[in-house]
Symmetry: C2
Subunit: 204 residues, 2 copies
Amino acid sequence: MTENKRTNDPEGVRRRIIDAAYDAFVTQGYLATGMLELRERASVSGGAMAHHFPAKRDLGLAVIRDRVAEAVRQTWIAPLHTSADVPAAIDLIFENIINELMHNGRVSGCPLNNMAMDVSHHDSEMREVVSAVFGAWHEALSAKFARDAEEKHASELNPHSLATLVIAAYSGAMAMAKARQDVSPLIDCRMELAALLAAKYRLR
Amino acid sequence: MTENKRTNDPEGVRRRIIDAAYDAFVTQGYLATGMLELRERASVSGGAMAHHFPAKRDLGLAVIRDRVAEAVRQTWIAPLHTSADVPAAIDLIFENIINELMHNGRVSGCPLNNMAMDVSHHDSEMREVVSAVFGAWHEALSAKFARDAEEKHASELNPHSLATLVIAAYSGAMAMAKARQDVSPLIDCRMELAALLAAKYRLR
DNA sequence: GACATAACAGGTCAATTGTCCTGTTATGAA
DNA sequence: TTCATAACAGGACAATTGACCTGTTATGTC
């Protein structure tokens, strides 16, 4: 006579929770999102939630590791390997992001940066996980710069600091775009970075 | 027989509240700071708090307008007017900020950026106030670039987009520094920006 | 001195927060 | 089939949130 037949689907439930959490954390922020809201979004009971993620920070850590890191990989690291050189890759990355932002009306910001700002204060473990994602991002970009420098003999550039500048410019531009709800900061930075990199790659 | 003699000091109480709020908002975040904590920090009663700031958002708006905007003015806009040109000013600004961060051990981030990330989602009015501060910052930097371009005949540079890049690079570098609790992103960006601007100003 | 109002005290309020509890059911191993 | 445990249901929990209430006192104006 029980109406609801329960189905055990641990991976599915866990994925639904993380999907809902990633979406909510990115669009509203980590602190601003409550566990109750997430349970409703993912359509899971309190018991299921507590079973998979005993505390909110466990969910936050999982979101960073599983989703945010993957988003950085797909949008920033993968294009580096399919493009001729870094300047071409960066221009393509910015174009894709700008097009996507203009497509859906609002700017919700860089997922990694959003999580970083929400989390950095309170929890040192979460901060270190975020820091590791930044590190992987910087590592990939820096390595590609270094390879370009060899192959194209553009030895004037400093791969490490240049990679930092690119990531910082993108993160900051996205933060400005989010605050102003306007993509133009990203367009500006795309142009300036393209010119900067073109000049660096012109030198021998 | 009343022990506590009350003293009416509206400006003082208001200033104490805003001071405490600015400090807490910058170091912990806007959402993460409760009104009760602020009352204790500022040593004011609930009545006094409600009198000056009926809602938390009123306090947030006041903090942005009175303190955050002033911090941007002092650290970023003022040095522009006392330096020979923008590259010199930016190098000085970065040096000051880096020295200050290294002095006190931890990196709490750019006040404006912190508020922007905490607030942009929920409240459109607060977002617009933050946006206005970004606008004033960009306006001041852009105008100084334009003046330099005339005086030094460095007409190759685009004041608008270059100012965006500088602000974005700083904001992003500070976000990275906060996440990693390490000033090196700022050092990297300082170096790269100095080289970039030197190249721009060398051309005629 | 009378009086209106701003400034403040101290406490209450419902709503929401994140966490955790006790049951119940599904699942796989022996 | 037996049984241990993982998976889940549904709710309760204390703590904390931001807002607001009724009084009381200070302050300036006439």
